[in-house]
Subunit: 401 residues, 2 copies
Amino acid sequence: MIGFERIKEIAIETPSKIILLVMDGLGGLPDPRSGKTELETASTPNLDQLAARSICGLHDPVSPGITPGSGPAHLALFGYDPLVYDIGRGVLETLGIDFDLQEKDLAARGNFCTVDEKGLVVDRRAGRIPTDRSSELCQLLNKIHLDGVQLFVNPVREHRFSVVFRGDDLSAELTESDPQQVGLAPMTIEALSPQAERTARMVNEFVEKAKATLAKSRPANMVLLRGFSKYPNLPEMGEVYRLNPAAIATYPMYRGLAKLVGMKILPTGEGIEAEFATLRQHYEEHDFFYVHVKRTDSAGEDGNFEAKVKAIEEVDAHLPQLMGLAPDVLIITGDHSTPAVLGAHSWHPVPVLLYSRWCRPDRLGEFSERACRSGSLGRLPAVEIMPLAMAYARKLNKFGA
Amino acid sequence: MIGFERIKEIAIETPSKIILLVMDGLGGLPDPRSGKTELETASTPNLDQLAARSICGLHDPVSPGITPGSGPAHLALFGYDPLVYDIGRGVLETLGIDFDLQEKDLAARGNFCTVDEKGLVVDRRAGRIPTDRSSELCQLLNKIHLDGVQLFVNPVREHRFSVVFRGDDLSAELTESDPQQVGLAPMTIEALSPQAERTARMVNEFVEKAKATLAKSRPANMVLLRGFSKYPNLPEMGEVYRLNPAAIATYPMYRGLAKLVGMKILPTGEGIEAEFATLRQHYEEHDFFYVHVKRTDSAGEDGNFEAKVKAIEEVDAHLPQLMGLAPDVLIITGDHSTPAVLGAHSWHPVPVLLYSRWCRPDRLGEFSERACRSGSLGRLPAVEIMPLAMAYARKLNKFGA
């Protein structure tokens, strides 16, 4: 793979436009009854027609066999090697709520949960309390005093919140407190290095004080903390690719990811229709657009094969709007697979389609896992998609004499 | 990819013979009228027949999306990772004229150009003056005196020449003087590091004296210098692969590249017929032959679809001569794509065919970008072709017990 140093040397600014449409968790597995995946089941006349004029393939988000979280999977699509750039969940959640994270901050992802009289977790998500209720509780937690540390507790969505500790010499080398199953007590957070011991004590103090603060607010009467992490200084896409990139995503974490690589976040409404409208509205202002569709993944995670099929069909129905913008390069793919039959992210390679007038069209009959197998992109690491997008948009100079 | 250290351990000398036939810029793009690439348009009965008995695929010269210069593209075909071995244009041009470059030499590629009374470039190629005239001017430039530095100015072809500065502690960390467009003055060469400052002064002194020397020889009344570089010490193919390799190429730069990796340069006439005759003549003396066909690339660069089709057809017509030699391995490919519709090198993957009696034949119907897509070599980095050639020639021992 060509590294960022080399890409920087050959990347050039041009007026051409790239759209990266990510249908989260797109890749699937066959329904045992029909033998067809979600994408193969969906009626997608527009995607199929586009596939005939595009080049296609299957990508491995991180490496063959690796099931990625959303963080590494997206970084790879943005051209950042996820084995090099490692980002904590705490940072992602926090960036997703437009919090101005600073270099000395330590961020964690919090869950409100329910514990019984013995202090054992009975519901790791506190019955998915509504975000409004979560906001009230965050305000209470914000009043906790910790010596020498400023505290920022902010709601994310439902039972999920972000907590940021701002202070000197905080370390992210900490274990998590979430026991990952009910019937156990939240775990004490431990330092993974001597430098982190002071931080571990401070975080445990926060958890104790939170427990006291929430004692009477059942179901949300305790917190679980995970994904301790600090701000990673990633090179920005503007700097690496000389792009002026923008992101359209309805879900906080994906906006957080986009912000991390220097994309401008475009405010948008919920749903594909609204997202595509946002794209049209800002089309002249940027040369790279990342558009994120969440529902394919949510349906997959819920094990709802039919809902995933419908989400794909909805994207297909709106595709002519994208094509109407006449992008120089349009990439349609997923960040990873979320087969409904597994009800979870998986390691299966992900269909990818790249349309450009400079393609040698593969002339595939459809856009599907099966058809993509014979596409000319072959099976490729996700991190190679971005250089291809740049090339097909004619934004890369020649390498070497 | 397996590295040179491992290859060295398992490479063995055998009488088997490998021919690497490089049709420069072979890969193409469809003509919008026919939907067919140059290779798909060309009538190539011999290549098509051979493809049926071979294994095929598409290679990425450097990395997906990267448009390579001839240097990195060829190094990759010779099995040298072009992201590791970086070679300057000055060195390439200089090696291509059989100049005996030494370690302390600093080489640059020169162009004779035309400047007007104000010193602005009006023709970057001085009307492509004939090589004979260029030779006379090089002799004049050779008389320039520079303190402590020996000077070697030699004609390459038409307006192009090589200049070698031989002296102690010369640095290649210099900017170029070619403004890349007409209407501007040649640029002062600048040091990119403090160590290069003395060299920059010396090279600028050469340029000034060259201007004075050429003042009355319009159109070639000035020089432009680019690609400052020093001799890269590449491991030789004989050492890495235990081969005794030879190169047949009509164009200086490709001979230069071959020399750099330790190939013997076989003198040859112009044209495919002459090159193949040279191959026959020396067939017993070597076990690896690199044969370079330039016309496919020149036609592509000229945007001449038809001429590229004809060049491919000419190679096809002569193919039985190669097959008559009964090589153990024959590889036919390009170093990169040069689609006539782009009129330039491009990033598109390149068709590759490997014939050997030890293949599992792909039984493709033809040799084309489209057919190669379904070949068993899949889509592979160019740098992996050489280990495959070695394997199919049975020149590699087992790795590990």
